[in-house]
């Protein structure tokens, strides 16, 4: 037997070189971007910056109302989107038969995720404010209460925007529950609902949570859809109203108010500032806060997913 010497693999080496170059370029850009924001932004961050309202035409002060508005809107968004998305996914995966009709629905959900967010904004304006809001005002005789841009409609619109994320991740989570576990449950005399409730949902929960968190981080970073839906240029008063029941009053988010929003605030500071040099550091600070906020949410999602995989890996 004659054993040959190894030949040099030139095309392989070139390919590896290109791939490596691309990778390091990407890492470089990412570090540059995040590093710049971090270095420029960290200086302005203080407790006052996180709590105070903007002052002096946004050249001073903090971003408190914008952070509050972002949290309020995303909170309401979650309340709208999670039950709707999770129940739709349960229906699609567990109950609906695989027909032409349900296949069209599945495809539509995936396509919905690709619609530009500005389209959702216009949809929200047309559907929620001009149709639902205006008609609500007429029916309830509330004057102009619902038929105008407000936190409620911004949340509802963002809820529609992130709905595909919630549905798709819930579908995946439900799908990954082994059929053998369902069989075991049916074999013991469980009904469909008992099986879904006791076997399928507990195992799908981490996946559903992951989807929810991803939806939040997506919603919190959106600007375009809320442009027409109540995001305010400057609004130092928080959208809060006292909810009084029998003499006890608790401050609650008032969904009919307008609000400030971090992502929109950054956009405003970048485009509408009267004094760009003084606004710039605040812009970096706000961007850093928004990035850290979404980053934390994503980290939480990753931890959930990791634990989920670990559980499944043992099966």
């Amino acid at each position: 037997m004659e054993l040959k010497k190894r030949k040099k693999d030139f095309s392989g080496a070139i390919f590896l070189g290109i791939v490596r170059l691309m990778f390091f370029f990407l890492v470089f850009v990412l570090i540059l971007l995040l590093g710049k924001i971090f270095i420029e932004g960290i200086g302005v961050i203080s407790l006052e910056f996180l709590i105070d309202s903007p002052k002096n035409n946004m050249t001073e002060g903090g971003i408190g109302p914008a952070i509050f508005g972002t949290i309020a809107v995303t909170l309401l968004m979650v309340i709208f989107t999670v039950p709707l998305g999770v129940f739709s996914a349960i229906y699609l995966n567990e109950y609906a038969k695989d027909t032409f009709f349900t296949r069209i629905i599945r495809t539509s959900i995936n396509n919905l995720a690709g619609v530009p967010s500005i389209v959702f904004g216009l949809f929200g304006l047309g559907f929620f404010i001009l149709f639902i809001g205006k008609n609500l005002d007429e029916i309830l005789q509330t004057g102009l209460l619902f038929g105008q841009p407000a936190l409620l409609w911004a949340s509802a619109t963002l809820a529609v925007l992130v709905l595909p994320i919630v549905i798709v991740s819930t579908l995946e989570a439900l799908n990954s529950v082994p059929k053998s576990h369902r069989d075991a449950s049916y074999g013991l005399g469980a009904t469909k609902w008992q099986t879904t409730k006791n076997v399928v949902l507990p195992q799908a929960r981490p996946g559903i949570l992951t989807g929810t968190i991803l939806a939040i981080s997506r919603g919190a970073g959106e600007t375009a859809p809320i442009l027409f839906l109540g995001a305010a240029f400057f609004l130092p008063n928080l959208p809060i109203a006292d909810l009084c029941i029998g003499g006890y009053c608790i401050p609650m988010i008032n969904p009919t108010e307008q609000f400030m929003y971090l992502a929109y605030h950054i956009f405003i500071m970048a485009t509408q500032s009267s004094n760009p040099t003084k606004t710039l550091p605040l812009q970096y600070g706000s961007t850093l806060v928004l990035i850290v906020l979404t980053f934390l949410l994503n980290i939480t999602a990753i931890i959930f997913r990791y634990r989920f995989r670990k559980i499944l890996g043992r099966l």
């Binding site: 038969k97 053998s180 069989d183 075991a184 013991l188 005399g189 008992q194």
Partner: protein, 252 residues
């Protein structure tokens, strides 16, 4: 006269247009072990799933014919399928314990049937784990994840879980095919003990296993029941050439 538990009359089953079972007629004896043997794809597992209507969960399956358990036609439209599956337990080829504790796996069935009393549930757990001959191995770790057990232990736990809803019939779909010889021996021993109280139907690929554990054996081939008789007869003096070829290992 031996007591007959299940009567199957002219059973035909279709997956879409494809016929998987053809005119099956047989009686299954109470408190005996009946083995279904035959090459892969012969319909023996499908037929097993006819007996607790698990095939209903698959789209496109059509079943024609009659199956009587204790005189009741289980394919009658008014029959409560959930109740049927409580009375006809099933153990699957691969252990399919829930990713829960040992205790929770056993009480899953009783709980969905409305038993809430903690003391009663504890009793069920001890009783069924004893019946499945696994109590001594797991009694100190009832609150550990069931998936931390070995493959053989998991399968016996599956049997215990099936027993916890107090069925009269237990269907086993190749319960030992994924196990080592020692675990297989334990399962076979267990089957032998269980037939004192339960009617057991077992599908197996392993002919020695069928010969060891069963009283009656049915040989299936291409969706047809070729021969059904006492196990000793099937293995020593089969009436059919195909059966003889199969049990002597000439094909399959």
């Amino acid at each position: 006269m031996k007591e007959i538990k299940i009567v199957v009359k002219d059973l035909n089953l279709f997956y879409g247009d494809k016929q998987a079972l053809k005119n099956i007629t047989l009686d299954i004896l109470a408190k005996r072990v009946t083995a279904f043997i035959g090459p892969s794809g012969c319909g023996k597992s499908t037929f097993l799933r006819v007996l607790n209507r698990m095939n209903d969960l698959i789209d496109n399956v059509k079943t024609k014919g009659e199956v009587f358990i204790d005189g009741v036609n289980i394919y009658d439209k008014s029959l409560d399928i959930v109740n049927l599956r409580k009375n006809v337990g099933m153990v699957f080829q691969k252990s399919n314990l829930f990713p829960k504790t040992i205790y929770e796996n056993i009480v899953y069935g009783p709980k969905i049937n409305g038993i809430r009393d903690k003391k009663f549930l504890d009793e069920i757990v001890e009783k069924t784990l004893n019946q499945a001959a696994i109590w001594d191995e797991v009694k100190d770790r009832l609150n550990e994840n069931a998936l931390s057990l070995s493959g053989g232990q998991q399968q016996r736990l599956c049997i215990a879980r099936a027993l916890a809803v107090e069925p009269e019939i237990i269907l086993m779909d190749e319960p030992a095919s994924a196990l080592d010889p020692i675990s297989t021996a334990k399962i076979e021993e267990l089957i032998h003990d269980l037939k004192k109280e339960y009617t057991i139907v077992i599908v197996t690929h392993n002919m020695q296993q069928a010969a060891r554990v069963s009283d009656q054996t049915a040989f299936f081939y291409l969706g047809e029941l070729i021969e059904y008789d006492k196990t000793t007869t099937i293995f020593t003096n089969p009436g059919n050439k195909q059966t003889e070829d199969y049990v002597t290992g000439r094909f399959g």
